[in-house]
Subunit: 336 residues, 2 copies
């Protein structure tokens, strides 16, 4: 029997990923869409049959609370602006709905930890599940890279370099809350946390990050407060690495490099190279289908799958916050 | 009239560079060679006419002090192991000989500063000149890159990545004092200080380095104590950058990248790329000829040329020592 689900939020990612994935999912039945404005909910639902719309301005019986009161909705997928999410997550969990909320888990570590503590203190976590989405943990190219790194005996040194230029006509730049961010790191948090998730997946638990030291800078004024970070990191086993993430750069790369005990592994865009041998990893979508399937399996099993646990998202955020707050100092990581 | 010069040291760089450059120089007349063993001095001088040999085991009248007592020798070029150099520099300067000593200026900042203080306190610096060699400051590709960076309005972000694998049959690895280094950083100091000199030349005074935060690691046991460093740096104007230097890596690159106000400048081995346009900078030797000519001009002018000043070498060493001692912490740079 399929699980009744609602999509909370009507932004770009909801339109491009959550809506089609939820509709195509054999596990879920899409029952409702909520957006803070009815207009946005209608835009997202355009052409979709049998889905009820909810919003703050939709009138009586159509609020978020009304949606959460529905017995045929057992789960919600929340993709709202970073600052707005925690309250929506709490309300849904309080109403007994399983939650899959988009990354980052919250705008900062303090908010995220408060939210997680609230969850374990107030919700029966064996009955009502909270999962945090991070589609990079499901991307074939990261999984393949992780396997190859393990095969070559583990990481001794690494580099992440992902640089591009977000232009003012970029679809995500047009989102008001992204363009004038009230959260730390601006686009670098929003985009960079994916890269940290990918890196952490490849490093694995054995080589988990132990510290970061970083500098932030702004290359394009319109991307304030920060569009570029450079970091050095050390793993628990003493390997070191460098991380550069820029969304305001004239350079364009997407490279994860690993100096391993038995050679070199490189992920360059969609190509994995192992000691000189190339493997193209076919792009099979952005992984949201696997993520949503994992959410469904979690609900069936009564336990959140490892890759979807809030603790994973918390660990990603800890690295990003360490990078943003370092100002050159060494920041110890304690949640990896 | 040419300047009488002696070469002090008989290692690889003396053989490949100092000897042929000194012999070909219109400014200098090579009078003598000193090495700590006569055998080494003889090896270096093999086939060279009219040059007197000195060493610790060459008998009466053939010691370093005897060489320094010669009135027809006005200058010495010193290329000895890092730990040995300071004493030889002091003796030569005390004997009134102009000195061009090889980089690094000393094994660490304290020794280098003590040496420089000793020089200014004990030697008439207007009469007896001390210059420190750093051939990268004379390489056409760095000078060209610096010009292009200036043309594009200065640096906003940068990366240096130079990685290779020193094998056990590498000529420099066979040098005893390099293979079992008593100086910090091992090969990374010896080789990396050139890269820092190149970076500092490109950044210029306006964008001088202000701090570094770094991690060191060892990828190949036989290159102990350290073969790899990852660093982030910040310039006085707030630009940030990442520096990776490895001599134990499975990767092989030599890249200096600069995100500038008006685009991108890349130095990739011998190729300079400016906003997509490539320039091959022909390799015209390792710059030692320009360096030695600069030393001669300094002697003629009675003042050490800017690129050869010990303060430049001190600034290079400060960056390297900051990288080696950081362990993730922010190290302020005060001599840039």
């Amino acid at each position: 029997m399929s699980i009744g689900v609602a999509i909370i939020g009507s932004g770009i990612f909801a339109r491009e990923e959550h809506l089609p994935v939820a509709r195509a999912s054999p596990d879920f039945a899409l029952k409702a869409i909520y957006s803070r404005s009815l207009q946005s909910a209608q835009n997202l639902a355009s052409g979709v049959e049998g889905v009820d719309l909810y919003s703050e301005d939709a009138g009586a019986g159509r609020s978020y609370a009304d949606l959460l009161a529905r017995e045929d909705v057992q789960a919600v997928i929340i993709a709202l602006p970073i600052l707005a999410q925690p309250e929506y997550i709490k309300q849904a969990l309080s109403a007994g709905k399983h939650v899959l909320s988009e990354k980052p888990i919250a705008k900062d570590l303090a908010t995220a930890q408060e939210l997680l503590q609230w969850y374990t203190a107030n919700i029966d976590t064996s009955k009502t599940l909270w999962a945090v989405a991070e589609n990079y943990r499901y991307l074939a190219k990261f999984i393949r890279t992780a396997e190859e790194v393990r095969r070559l005996g583990g990481v001794k040194n690494f580099r992440v370099s992902v640089r591009s230029l977000i232009k003012t006509d970029f679809k995500y730049y047009k989102t008001e809350w992204r363009r004038t961010p009230a959260h730390q790191g601006g686009f670098v948090l929003d985009g960079g946390i994916h890269l940290v998730a990918g890196l952490r997946l490849i490093l694995g638990e054995q080589e988990a990050l132990a510290s970061v030291s970083a500098q932030s800078s702004l290359l394009q004024e319109y991307l304030a407060p920060v569009d570029t970070v450079d970091a050095v990191a050390q793993t628990k086993s003493g390997a070191s690495g460098a991380i550069t993430m820029s969304y305001g750069s004239a350079f364009n790369d997407f490279v994860f490099e690993f100096d391993c005990a038995q050679g070199a592994v490189t992920l360059n865009f969609d190509r994995v190279t192992v000691n000189g041998e190339d493997f193209e990893v076919p792009f099979e979508g952005r992984g949201v289908n696997h993520e949503v399937a994992g959410f469904a399996a979690s609900i069936r099993d009564g336990a959140v799958q490892a890759l979807l646990r809030p603790e994973q998202a918390l660990a990603d955020l800890e690295v990003m916050e360490g990078i943003f707050t370092s100002n050159g100092a060494r920041v110890e990581l304690r949640l990896q």
